[in-house]
């Protein structure tokens, strides 16, 4: 019996964006990375195309992240004391992108200054040829001060500045516009909030192919279904032709999974949770894999083993 396969062709398409600039384009990156461009729900190649596979960013901290799980510190070893070495190790671990996460304070408790942020950004740019993302500590005032400095230091490199929120988007977007960067616009898990921030950013005149949206996510077991459904709804809106949702999506499953006890700690947990090492990687890998199925274009990860796992999963999903 011939079965007529239902095909869904959509009027909309996610904008294809380029992160990183090579010397010909005014930067120094040895590799640039394209994200987005799909006109189908994830991996449904009978409906449409997905020219770029979802990309993996590895998050590195700007100093030894003592609050991170011992498993992560063990996996990376001594490089966690030196962001430049860490960036290089991330590249070797298979990252497409390196995300430098700035802290509020330096070792010893002094606030991170604009000069610190510049030096850190420079060191990471020199250590890796991959495109980079630089995220501020997540406090509006500090982010404004540090990210403007970062944007200037990395002028022409086409980096991604984050986090750009409703409270500070003007400053961050202006810095991105002046220096040729992209912004990562983050909103609480909500379709309308995401769209509204995209409109505000676009209204300032930043070219649309320099906006990434970050709808915030949650870990497996800790509310992931909210993020998952918000992403599915945003992507459906984009495919249906809503221009202000047609941006690649970035999410941070590494951060979310590793702050949960399932990944973070090995003691004082029920025996039914099983082997800690495998559970930790599983928690991060499943969180990331599930979000990729919901439409993530960039996943930010922490553990090198997870990177391999998620990479293989993506490549297998891309096999036509």
């Amino acid at each position: 019996m011939p079965v007529e396969i239902p095909v869904e062709q959509w009027p909309g398409r996610v904008i294809e964006e380029t992160i990183g600039a090579n010397p010909a384009e005014g930067g120094t990156r040895s590799r640039v990375v394209k994200v987005g461009g799909e006109n189908t729900l994830p991996f449904l190649f009978t409906d449409g195309e997905m020219p770029n596979l979802p990309r993996i960013a590895i998050e590195i901290a700007d100093r030894r992240p003592t609050e991170w799980s011992p498993l992560l510190l063990e996996a990376w070893g001594d490089v966690v004391d030196d962001p430049a070495k860490w960036a290089k190790a991330a590249e070797e671990a298979g990252a497409d992108l390196v995300l430098l996460q700035l802290s509020l304070t330096r070792d010893g408790g002094n606030p991170t200054t604009a000069a610190d942020a510049k030096a850190l950004t420079r060191a990471v740019l020199q250590a890796t040829g991959l495109p980079i993302l630089v995220f501020g500590p997540g406090q509006v005032d500090a982010d404004n001060e540090l990210l403007v400095a970062v944007a200037e230091e990395a002028a022409g490199e086409r980096i991604v500045l984050g986090i750009c929120e409703e409270k500070n988007y003007r400053t961050i977007v202006a810095a991105a516009m002046a220096n040729g960067h992209l912004v990562n616009g983050r909103t609480a898990m909500d379709v309308n909030l995401a769209k509204q921030l995209n409109i505000l950013i676009a209204d300032m005149g930043l070219p649309l192919d320099r906006i990434i949206m970050d709808p915030t996510t949650a870990s497996l077991g800790y509310g992931i279904e909210y993020g998952y459904s918000v992403m599915e709804r945003l992507r459906l809106a984009a495919l249906q032709g809503d221009k202000m949702t047609q941006f690649p999506m970035l999410v941070t499953p590494g951060f979310e999974a590793w702050r949960q006890k399932e990944a973070k700690v090995g003691e004082g947990v029920p025996a039914s949770w099983g082997d800690w090492r495998q559970r930790a990687v599983l928690w991060e890998a499943l969180t990331a894999s599930d979000l990729i199925l919901a439409g993530a274009d960039i996943v930010v990860l922490r553990h090198p083993e997870t990177v391999k796992r998620v990479r293989t999963f993506i490549e297998r999903l891309m096999a036509k």
Binding site: M1, P6, L44, F45, G223, G274, A285, L293, L317, K320
Partner: protein
């Protein structure tokens, strides 16, 4: 797919005899469409119309059940492609496969380990659903022995896997009194398998490697009198599975294509090389449209992650899981024990309560009615502000249970400290950790604050 009132009207006698209790056939048809009337109220409806209306009333994906003596699994009857459109209703059954070519002790051991496994997640006891026994030996008696052995260690449902009808029959006899799924009818053996399934009144899986062949086969099996069918479209890799299972869901829901309107069985282990990869594939199948998932590997951490993911995806998005607002006493608190406040989103509540419980230290946990939102979400939505916190403190009666006046608020809403102090004169407001996992350490130091 449900018919409209007008479509139903065309199938009625159109005599307006009023014997159904409605003034016209059209009015009756409208009530039928709204499921507020029964077709049996019409004495004159033809048998042909009845059959058509019955068929149209059937769900687009048939509900199929399997059962052991102590546990039943129902899958199918889904109505949406995306959970946000309404909700997913019947979580896929998670089964572990054992093979009759293994020594019996190994069969029993593997089945027992997986079936005894249980994990508590947000107050729920979660476990796997059953065992798939595969006739790898080629010998019906060996298969029957393996089926018996598995039943000694579990009362959950079985999937009997064999291509040889004789083996299926032997397995079915060994599993007498239960309702297993037979796997599988194929182009080669479907007549014999359908006959066995029909005489035992059990569901049967059909396997073919293209949707065209699969639809042919389900029609044949249906023609042999089987209604309860499960589909195996033969895909094993993550890409093909995602595409094919999505197409099957669309065919059922959007095209009301009856030949493929059945739950789907998947085998993630056949496309994976180890526990983590199998978990990734199984997680895809949970989110994207499997009805039965047969695992080839078991590890507690894998089971926990998949069971949690299944709960997450099958949570009704319209109804956040909430706990009752009020006072929760943890580790028998006395009048000098610390008082903490959080929201009534169940994941938030259990994260906090489990940490306090695990610390061994006594505490009073106040749960505010934040409409089932987590701390930060509720705060952003104005459902967990200083006023709500103060109201919770005052209305729960915590003041009569304690001698001190110190309240710990979540670190994520540290900004509320000043406002809460204003709302609660006489209280000292302490800012707790941002993450529940840091509570035990915090509570150890509490006396010094």
């Amino acid at each position: 797919m449900a018919l409209t009132g007008l479509q139903i009207y065309k199938l009625l006698p159109q005599t307006n005899c009023k014997e159904c209790g409605f003034p016209t056939c059209l009015a009756f048809a409208m009530k039928l469409a709204a499921k507020q009337a029964e077709l049996s109220a019409c004495p004159y409806v033809s048998e042909e119309a009845k059959a058509q209306l019955d068929a149209a009333a059937a769900p687009p994906i048939r509900l199929v059940s399997v059962a052991g003596p102590g546990h039943r699994v129902e899958v199918g009857n889904e109505t949406v492609i995306f959970r946000h459109e309404k909700t997913f209703y019947h979580p896929p059954g998670l089964f572990l496969r054992v093979k009759d070519s293994w020594p019996l002790e190994q069969v029993k051991g593997a089945a027992k380990e997986a079936m005894d496994y249980t994990v508590i997640y947000v107050g729920m006891n979660l476990h796997l659903d059953g065992v798939a026994v595969e006739a790898a030996s080629g010998d019906p008696e060996t298969f029957a022995a393996a089926v018996k052995a598995v039943q000694e260690v579990t009362d959950r449902p079985l999937i009997l896997m064999a291509s040889d009808p004789a083996a299926l029959k032997a397995g079915l006899t060994a599993a007498d009194g239960t309702r297993p799924l037979l796997y599988a009818a194929t182009a080669e053996n479907w007549q014999a398998v359908a006959e066995i399934a029909k005489s035992a009144n059990v569901p049967v899986a059909v396997r073919a490697d293209s949707l065209d062949d699969l639809a042919d086969l389900t029609e044949k099996v249906k023609g042999a009198g089987i209604q309860d069918i499960v589909l195996d479209p033969g895909v094993r890799d993550p890409a093909g599975t995602l595409v094919t299972l999505t197409q099957l869901r669309r065919l059922a829901l959007k095209k009301n294509f009856r030949p493929l309107g059945f739950p789907i069985i998947t085998f993630p282990g056949e496309g994976a090389s180890d526990v983590i990869e199998e978990a990734q594939l199984a997680a895809e199948h949970i989110a994207k449209y499997a009805g039965f998932i047969v695992l080839d590997r078991f590890a507690p951490e894998m089971a926990y992650a998949l069971l949690a993911w299944r709960v997450n995806i099958y949570t009704n998005p319209q109804e956040p899981i909430k706990v009752q607002p009020g006072i929760y006493e943890i580790n028998s608190p006395t009048a000098d024990a610390p008082v903490m406040i959080t929201t009534n989103f169940s994941i938030t509540y259990f994260s906090v309560a489990n940490e306090v419980d695990g610390s061994g230290l006594p505490g009073w946990l106040l749960v505010a009615d934040a409409e089932g939102m987590s701390v930060l979400t509720a705060w952003a939505a104005g459902k967990f502000d200083a006023e709500k916190i103060a109201k919770t403190v005052k209305t729960t009666g915590i003041e009569e249970k304690i001698t001190h006046r110190k309240l710990i608020i979540p670190g994520a809403v540290a900004v509320l400290m000043g406002e809460v102090e204003e709302e609660l004169p006489g209280w000292q407001i302490l800012v707790g950790p941002r993450e529940a996992v840091d509570l035990p350490g915090y509570l150890k130091l509490w006396k010094s604050f």
